[in-house]
Each structure stands twice: as C-alpha cells, then as structure tokens.
Subunit: 139 residues, 2 copies
C-alpha cells in the first residue's frame, strides 16, 4: 500500500534526523537540483547539494536530538505524496538544550528507488502556555 | 499545460488573499474535511469549514492587504501539484500596518472543477538586515 510506503519513507527521514546522519539523509532525499528545504525561521534552501550542506551544518552543531512525531496525515495522489506532522523535538548542545514543537510539511515522489523526499517545510509553533498558568506569579 | 493551470490557480489564491474575499477563497479551495492550512506562527487548521473561518477572521481584522509573489516554483506530478513561493506582504489595519516576507508551500489537486488548493503552509522569514547596516549606530 502506497500510504504505508510513504509512512515508512517519512519515518526514515525522522530516523536520519534523530541520528544526525547525513549518510542516511542521502538515502531519504531525491538528489535533484530542484528539491527544497525550509528549516524553521530560515530562508529556503534549493538543490540537493545545498540541502545536504544545511543538514550537515545542523548536525555539526548538535550533540544529540530526541524526536517524536504526532498528528500524522498522509495523502497520496499517484506518484506524489503529501505528509503533514508535528515534530516534538529536543536538541542537545554541548551546553544546554532547546525543545519545542515544529509543524512540518513533507512531500515525497515515487521513484524507481522507492519514495524520496523532495520537500521539507518546517516552522516553529509558539510555546504553549500551560492551562494552569497563574498570572499572579508575574507580580 | 498543467503548469500554467496551476500557476493560474495559485494566482487566484493570492488575488482572493489580497482582496480579503472569503467568497473568492470558496472557489480556490477544495471544500473537503481534510484540507489543511498553517498561517504564520499558528497551529494547523484542519478541514474546509475551519480553514474558511480562519481566513474570515484574518480578513475581518484587516483594512487592506498589498501582496506580490516572487521566487515561484511549480512541480506537477499527475493530479497533484506543489507550489513554492515567497509572499511579499503588507497588511494595513485601522491604525498602522505590518510588512514582511512569508515563505509559502501550496499544494493543489486536479479535480473535475479544475485545480483546487488542498494545503497552504506559510511561515514568516526573519527580517533582513540591510547590507549597509552600520553597527556603529548601536553605540
């Protein structure tokens, strides 16, 4: 089933991400000069060479990543697939870490070598204010 | 040609946006319960009814919008199309305005009624620092 295949391709992307592996990204992405990637709050990166460099740069400044996805939605139309999901991500650096939720749009193309990522658009969600937030603590 | 048709569908979306017209959005979007829309910095909106409401809410708080698109990229695979573009947008309110650049991923589906938008993911780019920015003025 195409949906299961795309779900697996999407999972391989997040495994490569969590493992900080550009070698695994090589297997996930279509290596074409028109693929595109938008990291949170950043300008678009165009072409596989530049996209690969952008991941290598992220991985080089990262000690480790913990990542899970939720709210997964997949739509397959012929040889193109659109995936929508929420990334729950914590990034650990040499000193300290950041964590947050990232809304992600991923697009895959069916090729002779299986489903390949052709687009990743990620944008940071505003941090939640807890329901039991007490404004009094501000005063 | 499919690419020209998708370019026109994308242009109709931005015309509806600039005209603040939910009636025009009715013609642009596929009215399905699985379409999705991510406004800049916001949580995902799922389903046509909710997506329509989100546009109506934006339009109701807006006096007028000036909008142009650049860096347009279109990829059509069968009955699905992926559009990437940069929105250069100024939004005018009763008092004052905001302006900025928004990176946008749009997905369209070919239907019996033409190409319909099924997904819009927009995220704000950081404001540019001018090339001739003089750090001395900070001191």
């Amino acid at each position: 089933m195409a949906i299961e295949e795309v779900e697996q391709a999407n999972a391989r992307f997040y495994k490569a991400f969590e493992e900080c592996s550009t070698a695994a990204m090589d297997q996930v992405w279509l290596q074409a000069d028109w693929v595109r990637c938008i990291h949170p709050g950043s300008e678009i990166v165009v072409g596989w060479k530049e996209v690969r460099n952008s991941w290598a740069e992220i991985f080089s400044s990262t000690k480790s990543i913990k990542l899970s996805i939720s709210n997964l939605f997949i739509k397959v139309v012929g040889d193109m697939a659109w995936v929508e999901c929420l990334e729950n991500i914590a990034t650990f650096f040499e000193h300290g870490f950041t964590s947050g939720q990232v809304q992600s749009t991923n697009i895959f193309l069916r090729t002779e070598d299986g489903w390949k990522m052709i687009h990743h658009h990620a944008s940071l969600l505003p941090a939640d204010v807890p329901d039991d937030w007490d404004e009094d603590i501000l005063h």
